[in-house]
């Protein structure tokens, strides 16, 4: 019985033991000091046969590591954690949460808005202002003593803000200055088209600003 165990140990040392037996023997090896000492001597025998130059066969690395290990916490029970996976999931989860909040806000405001009024909805997401913030946003952030780096634009509650055409035009022009060139052209031309097409007509213009490019976008001009 003992010889069979030692024979298994020798085979395991050479990585020649079947996986199932390895599991059982690994468990025993980690607890049985005599077995561990024998395992260590197998390593010494191998190093001596290879006559590894400069390597001290009485190396105390194992005993020193063992001393340090006493102060180390045991690794988490329950197997391997995958911090790599969690790391890339975290920003996605944040983005999904922000998008969800924005979508809910839009739906709520839409439901509350009376028909035929222009609604300007500011996304209720934190906008990082310092990099390319609009003057208005910068002023707003300067005014805020609590969190100078971030501005959460106030959302107008109750009935959607009815914006007169001239004010709306000013808003679109001002906003387009901070939009990427492609979007800027589309935004202005669609506004002009809708204005000219509806000239004389009583149909109010409805513009929904759903999202601004994060970071680069100004906070909602007040």
């Amino acid at each position: 019985m003992k010889e069979e165990l030692d024979s298994q140990l020798s085979a395991m040392f050479d990585d020649e033991l079947p996986a199932g037996e390895c599991e059982l023997l690994a468990r025993r090896l980690s607890r049985d000091e005599q077995l561990k000492a024998r395992w260590g001597r197998y390593a010494v025998i191998g190093a001596a046969i290879r006559a590894e130059r400069g390597v001290r066969l009485n190396a105390r690395v194992a005993s020193r590591v063992s001393v340090v290990m006493r102060a180390e916490p045991a690794l988490a029970a329950g197997g391997v954690s995958r911090p790599g996976g969690a790391r890339w999931l975290r920003p996605l989860a944040g983005a999904a949460l922000a998008a969800g909040v924005a979508a809910v806000s839009i739906l709520v405001l839409r439901a509350q808005a009376p028909q035929g009024t222009a609604i300007v909805v500011a996304p209720p997401v934190a906008v990082n202002t310092p990099r390319a913030a609009a003057p208005a946003a910068r002023a707003a952030s300067a005014a805020m003593s609590g969190a100078p780096g971030y501005v959460v634009p106030p959302v107008q509650r109750g009935a959607g803000a009815a914006v007169p055409a001239a004010e709306l035009a000013n808003y679109v022009v001002a906003h387009s200055m901070y939009s990427p060139p492609m979007t800027r052209g589309t935004l202005l031309s669609s506004f002009i088209t809708s204005e000219s097409g509806g000239a004389g007509a009583a149909t109010p213009v409805s513009i929904e600003v759903l999202t601004d490019p994060p970071g680069d976008a100004p906070s909602h001009p007040q």
């Binding site: 030692d6 024979s7 020798s10 085979a11 395991m12 040392f13 050479d14 990585d15 020649e16 033991l17 079947p18 996986a19 390895c22 599991e23 023997l25 690994a26 090896l29 980690s30 607890r31 561990k36 000492a37 024998r38 395992w39 260590g40 001597r41 197998y42 390593a43 010494v44 025998i45 190093a47 001596a48 046969i49 290879r50 590894e52 130059r53 400069g54 390597v55 001290r56 066969l57 009485n58 190396a59 105390r60 690395v61 194992a62 020193r64 590591v65 063992s66 340090v68 290990m69 180390e72 045991a74 690794l75 988490a76 029970a77 197997g79 391997v80 954690s81 995958r82 911090p83 790599g84």
Partner: protein, 201 residues
Amino acid sequence: MGADESDLSLVRRVQRGDKGAFDALVLKYQHKLVKLVMRYVRNPAEAEDIAQEAFIKAYRALPQFRGDSAFYTWLYRIAINTAKNAVVSRDRSPIEYNVDRNSDESYEMQGRMKDSETPEGLVLTDEIRSIVNAAIDGLPEDLRTAIVLRELEGLSYEEIAAAMDCPVGTVRSRIFRAREAIDRRLREVFEGGLGRAEELG
């Protein structure tokens, strides 16, 4: 049986919180790691320090080890990086000894001084080697061939079986019996004769 299965079974135990299993991994690889680090530093004591650091780093990083590569390959990379960092930081640190480091003679002398700090260690290493060599010389031919093919040439049991024209089970038995014979001599000398058994491994 799969490649690296024995290491993996120990690794999995460590990952589940069994620190004792890590001792077995350290015992198995300490000499290989010191030998590896000796490519970067000349001094055995410094190489052992670096190997120790590499093992501790490996332990702390073990939750991230998924077994995509062999454990030793992974450990090998950690040891190489630790050795390189140690060499860089040593070269940047202020010189503490009062000798001209640019002089080959004084640099060589410094190496000798460090080696002479552990004469007992060197003597013991020589003793262990001579015991093992004597024990191998005393082995029957088939046991000696099997253990040498395994330890010196690094052949698998299957390759040894092909070389020796015998079943794999016989190879396993021969290698085990060879180890037992050598181990018996080691224990006799160190436990009975010198009382230094605790210094082995």
